[in-house]
Structure formats: C-alpha cells, structure tokens
Amino acid sequence: MAKLKVFSDEWCNAWADKIRESKEFPIHNKGWEGDIGCCISKDPKANLPEDKYLYVNFFDGKVLDVRMADKETAENTKFVISGEYIRWKQVARGELDAVKAMMQGKLKLKGNLPYVVKYVKGVQETIKCLVALDSEFPDD
C-alpha cells in the first residue's frame, strides 16, 4: 500500500479512521469538548516552504473532524499546539513523546492546561494512532 503524504486529505482521513478504530480513545476522551489547532512551522530545508495548520475536533470520545486548515482557523481553537516541523515529524514517527516535548519546550500548548492534563491519555492515544500511519514526509 502506498504511503500517505502528510498534510494531504487522505492522510487526515486515515488518521481520523485510526482514531475511530481505537478502543482506548473513547474511554480516555470521554467528556472531552473542544477543538485543537496544530501549527507546524515551515522548514524550507525540509521541503516545507510554508507553515501548515491542522484542525482536529473531538467530542466525548467521538472524532468530529481532522483536516488541514488555514492559520486563522487553527489559531482560534480551544487548544493550540505549535512547534517546528522537525518536532512534529519526530512525534508522528514515535521518536518523540508529545508530553515530553512540551516539558522540554519543543512543542508549546496554549489553552486550559488542567483540562488537557485530565485528558492526557486521550491525547497520547491520538498520537499513537498517528504513529501507526504509514506517513510520507516532505523530506523523506
């Protein structure tokens, strides 16, 4: 099966499907309300000439939306996670734990932190689903 080009519609849909297939996600995301904007800084050296924005929306253990978005949409979500492309790639490859990356300042989170901490296992499960995708990155 062909690899999924990251930031493509197919890749977003495949990630959403993986989360929907997860048995753990509905358990750890139960009660969650809120959308998440992921801001990925451009890295021309890695064939990423412009910033990318991802919009993710969950509600009470259900996936409502996973899609690429514009800057305004991503930055006006309840939670915004931002970081350099290389950090996101490491997270998506399972080489960098997202929580550890935040503690090290490699990814930055804006929003209600006590709320996110309560749902940290749900966040980790969504990342696990992302890592499970056979993704092709711009600099592969």
Binding site: V99, K100, M103, Q104, N112, L113, P114, Y115, V117, K118
Partner: protein, 142 residues
C-alpha cells in the same frame, strides 16, 4: 481571589517548557478551583523537580502565596521529586479524597507502583510530609 497567588518565572526558566506548563497549570488550577488557594498560600518550601526522561530540572520556590519557578535545582530544596514525564502527569491526575492523595484507583495505583519500583523518588518526604500532601492537592487537576 485574583491576586491571592502570585506565580512568576525566574530568568533563565522561560525557555523550559515544564516551567511554563507548571506556571499555567497552577495559575489556571487556582482560578478554577479556589478551594486550593489556602494550601498554596501555606506552602513555604523549595521543591526540586527532575524529569528523568526529558533531562529537565526546575525548582519551585513557594513562599507566602508566591511561587517563583527557577531553572535547575536550588541547593537545599526541602523536597526533590524525580520521575519520568508520564509519572508527573499521573501525579497531577491523582484524585484527592479526605484531603489525601487517593491511591486506590487506576491512576493512584500507577503512582504507587512508580514509587515502589523507584520510578518516582521523593527526597525529603519524611521531614516535609505535610508540604508534600499540600503540593499534591495544589497540583491535582482532579
């Protein structure tokens, strides 16, 4: 209650993600759960925090309703907590029952197991037990 606690980041700690996270976490926790403020105000201790799997060290310096977060470990910290990033998250998710951390649900057992297996170390626990309990209450988002 807005000025009941004062949380600051010392020079050099601004680039440490954990320092910024704890600043936000504690400020928002006090705002959303004002019943925790008296515990915060009673804390008067330096608490070292070592995240063993992220190579991050900070010191939380509590005094009279003020917290300053410093980079690195300050000498003479009353408590020094060493744990992995997952265990630190679990500590923040500990339920509090009857004013004490609750170790009999999944998260509680996770923390207790981390302590027994040495993945969570708390230096100074015997001498500063009341402060440790207060910190648990202040940090808990549950």
């Amino acid at each position: 209650m807005g000025n009941a606690v004062d949380i600051r980041i010392a020079a050099g700690a601004e680039e440490i993600g954990l320092a910024m996270m704890l600043k936000d976490l504690l400020a928002q926790n006090m705002e959303q759960r004002p019943e925790k403020i008296p515990d915060f105000q009673k804390l008067s201790i330096d608490v070292g925090l070592i995240i063993s799997d992220a190579e991050v060290e900070i010191t939380l310096s509590f005094s009279g309703g003020r917290l300053i977060i410093y980079p690195g470990l300050k000498k003479g910290a009353g408590l020094v907590i060493t744990a992995g990033s997952d265990t630190i998250m679990a500590l923040s998710n500990l339920k509090i029952k009857g004013g004490m951390p609750y170790y009999f649900d999944k998260t509680g057992r996770e923390v207790a197991l981390a302590m027994v297996t040495g993945r969570l170390k708390v230096k100074g626990m015997l001498f500063h037990f009341p402060s440790l309990i207060r910190i648990s209450r202040v940090m808990s988002v549950q």
